[in-house]
Symmetry: C2
Subunit: 584 residues, 2 copies
């Protein structure tokens, strides 16, 4: 037997018990007369005590233990002379009688501590060692608990978890598919799913009513920071529902997770905001509502004087940064440089300081009188001590720039508290977006998303104006998930494919089985998918999804630990009727 | 709103309630004055009543409803005049006031009934319709409940579900991998996992102690009946355990599932049988213990006379079929033909009838006296009325032949009751098996399986004799799962790779990251994997795993519903640095 207890379990009431523990050597301290070893497992640390006076041989053995050795000890629980109130097991230690080394360890390439000296690459390569560190382990445990709670909630709501296939069919819509050559079907290929979208819709046609799955999805995209080629979705679909039924059900899921995992009680009804409004007020379809700082449209008011920058701008908007009128020249320059960064791309930044003493100082004093600027201040509802920050330009470009500025100011003012959670449903997304490259419409969500009933006539006359029954759940400015009511009418689906530029043949070839299924009594249905990695990262209070994935890949899609992808034998390719082409 | 209740919910206490239901038209019966429609959803059937006298227009509308139309009705719950005690909703019906057709349906290609007129191929092609049928739906619901209970049990036992990657590395050991070309790493490939074996061992090295995952695995094999290229495992691993700890833990899982899903209480300690004994007594490493009928070794006793067939046989064994002495010539011929089938391959079958009157009649009367045969009868502990069935030949071939015969007789005698469940741990499997083709040893379980400590010296002298710490859970003759204690010592692992004919370079290339991980303090560990599809099929009382998978593939690995695999555009292959080769 390797253990009677774990290393996190023993307390003062176990004193005098004979116990067996196994684990890793976290630390060895040779104090001359006494030697102490911290033994670690997943559950905690327990101090082992070796006494040179009473058992010199054993104590000598303990002194030779290296970091990360795996050992088994038998001994007696005794009260510590100097207790450690920071450790759950800090009241006790084990007076060791037998020590067995189960396995040795060479010196790890980085320290197995909460703050390690290992860099990213090294920790990825030795991921099995990185996973031993408390912060990483806690993330993995959190992920497990969240998955359990997701299932508990959805099961109680009569959702059925149904596994959909991983070897499916390549479709040209959306991102690039990973493909899998078939050996038994020469020159044919499976694709890995970007999502189980079609299958969950087929399950609705099949009458399953409430489906979910926590499921791996795959995208062969050029990896930006914090994208993974394989990622995990909480994928859900419901039949005989309208948009509100879906929002209510998944508000429930969010509330359940916040309550049961973080012990945070969210408000009873999440606010809902139309996409247009989110863009107008926050320049962002996933606004961070932990703080207000709404955009104020200054276009009309500011265009009354001879300031050419403003007069040529399609849109002039700004935010009011409370209490920032005292910003120094240097601070204002920093903000200007911030908005001028290439990834933001503003030309410059205009400020108006509404000083505590009621005076006004701005970067456009040359063009506007104090009265002019006082009218601005009033429009912004600014108080003395506040700072207005203003950007002019094309509306579509300026809104996102101003959004970045707003988020940066929120950050600087400490308004983006990681312990505070503000959920929001963004609704009424556009059905289509125009793609300049291909000169055609793309589905903003996906080609099965239903237009709002009242907007269907616009599909003929002004497709860009059609709003969809689509929604995103946004928490603290992070898109946690999104979904839509689906088209369940065959004719409307055909019209949609037509708008997206599919010929009837292409539509039939790619989605024929779905359209065919719709002939046999498709119910009204809709669903949602949540980015599970992202949600776990939010609950863990960290930014990168990589830290909540046990074995993540790096930015080139490589698993540096197992060294994959890797070459395969030509014989293996022969069986698959494939030949490699050397890259140029 | 589409519904206030489901179609399985309304009872006598709902009478006079105004309700809204949605679902599919199961059946329409036009009785002249009255028209009845059975409305179906996942939860049940509810009868809708339309009265020609009180609302002729509505009744006319109802009469036009086709099978599988999707409708919404509003109406009042009323007591039925003729109740149907077979239906949970059989006491009531809905007096319909409003009928809306949500979607029409063309006539389905087969009937949506418990017994359908659709053949296998048709039902696969229209799987979304097949999934509407009660027996299929019940399997899918059962699968969901089983997955939930697996997670509930393992979570309570402190197991953590950890997702391991799907895009991994190809290894030559085991079955053929599916491979996935990498676009970002030219001429390199991922592989889909045949199991998360290495990752779960790395998780033990990482200190996670109790891991599980319900996970898709992949094998590119020529599909025999009832194999799927993608299948689902309950994959588990534990550290700081010995074989008994693992068997106890997963006996617990099995008991939990039997109790909570089937309400069957299994015995407290599953029997354990060594592989050798299972082969000797049942000719099978997964014996069906619902019935006894052990093999009796007749070799010594039968070799005393001039019957050349026996005298040349390495092994002569038989079974005693109780109460079958009365078998006719025709029945005995049928049994002979059964064992002579090519997939069984026996030359012939010898019988000895121990008649009710105490007389003996056999197919070898020419060679053996009644006294000789009486000695056989005694060895078999046969009673008057029993029938001995005997096969001679090479031991390795005869044992499995006799096993097939035993199972067939068990079937004929009604001893393989689907409602009875007899679990068994088969233990002490051989570590290695000799492969004639490659003239080398293969790992019987996998290359990480630990030999029994007492057999380690045999690795040098007689590797074929080494027993492994490996075990299978067998229920009713079906292998539900299996596993092993793993090697956690780097040197022993090297020795194992050596025995398997890996050069140190090959071992390093394929499993270097695992052996490297073992340098950093690997704990003793072991695990098990259960075939989830198979287990669900057993609980569903069916033979084919295809019936418990929502979207299965056919025997050519094709999904005939979505028509996959399928060709891809050359442009897609160009990006992957691949060219197709035409099959010859």
């Amino acid at each position: 037997m390797y253990r009677t207890h774990t290393c996190g379990e023993l307390r003062i009431e176990h004193i005098n018990n004979t116990v067996t523990l196994s684990g890793w050597v976290q630390k060895m301290r040779n104090l001359g007369g006494m030697t102490f070893v911290d033994l670690r497992d997943r559950y905690g640390l327990t101090q082992l005590a070796f006494n040179m006076e009473t058992n010199a041989a054993l104590c000598e053995q303990a002194r030779k233990l290296g970091r990360e050795f795996v050992v088994k000890v038998e001994g007696t629980v005794q009260e510590r002379s100097s207790k450690n109130p920071k450790m759950p097991t800090g009241d006790i230690e084990i007076k060791v009688e037998i020590l067995s080394i189960l396995n040795k360890s060479v010196t790890p390439p980085f320290t197995i501590e909460d703050e390690t000296d290992g860099g990213d690459e090294l920790r990825m390569k030795y991921r099995y060692l990185d996973l031993r560190r408390n912060p990483v382990r806690k993330n993995i445990e959190l992920r497990h608990r969240m998955a359990q709670e997701v299932r508990r909630y959805l099961d109680a709501q009569k959702f059925i978890e149904i596994e959909t296939p991983v070897l499916i069919k390549s479709t040209p819509e959306g991102a690039r598919d990973f493909i899998v050559p078939s050996r038994m079907n020469a020159n044919q290929f499976y694709a890995l799913p970007q999502s189980p979208q079609v299958f969950k819709q087929l399950l609705m046609v099949a009458g399953y009513d409430r489906y979910f799955q926590i499921v791996k999805c795959f995208r062969d995209e050029d990896l930006r920071a914090d994208r993974q080629p394989e990622f995990t979705q909480i994928d859900c679909e419901m039949a005989f529902v309208e948009q509100n039924d879906i929002l209510d059900t998944f508000e429930g899921l969010a509330r359940h997770l916040f309550k049961n995992i973080l012990n945070v009680t969210l408000e009873d009804k999440f606010p809902r905001m139309a996409y247009d409004q989110a863009m107008t007020l926050y320049g962002n379809d996933k606004p961070d509502l932990r703080f207000d700082m709404k955009f104020v449209d200054l276009t009309d008011l500011a265009k009354q004087k001879d300031f050419v920058v403003f007069n040529q701008a399609e849109y002039i908007g700004g935010i009011c940064a409370e209490g920032c009128a005292g910003y120094s020249r240097k601070e204002l320059d920093a903000m200007t440089q911030f908005v001028q960064k290439p990834q933001i791309g503003a030309k410059g930044l205009i400020y108006v300081k509404y000083n505590e003493d009621g005076s006004i100082k701005s970067s456009v004093d040359k063009f506007y009188t104090e009265e002019d600027l006082m009218a601005w201040v009033e429009l912004f509802k600014a108080k003395p001590g506040d700072l207005l920050l203003i950007l002019p330009g094309e509306r579509n470009k300026t809104l996102p720039q101003l959004s970045e500025l707003r988020l940066e100011m929120g950050e600087r003012l400490g308004l983006r508290d990681r312990k505070k959670f503000v959920p929001l449903w963004v609704v009424d997304f556009p059905l289509l977006e125009w793609d300049e490259d291909s000169q055609r419409f793309h589905a903003m969500h996906h080609p099965f998303t239903s237009p709002k009933t009242e907007d269907v006539p616009l599909m003929e006359t002004d497709p860009g104006k059609v709003r969809a029954n689509a929604y995103d759940l946004v928490i603290n400015g992070v898109e946690i998930g999104g979904g839509s009511i689906r088209i369940f009418d065959e004719d409307l689906q055909k019209k949609m494919f037509d708008l997206l530029g599919f010929t009837p043949e292409e539509a039939q070839d790619q989605f024929g089985f779905l359209m065919n299924a719709f002939k046999y009594g498709a119910p009204p249905h809709g669903g949602v998918a949540f980015g599970f990695d992202r949600w776990v990262a939010m609950f863990a209070g960290i930014d990168s999804i990589r830290d909540v994935i046990a074995f993540p890949k790096n930015n080139s899609g490589r698993d540096v630990m197992i060294d994959s992808p890797s070459p395969v034998a030509q014989a293996q390719l022969d069986e698959l009727f494939l030949k490699m082409v050397q890259p140029k």
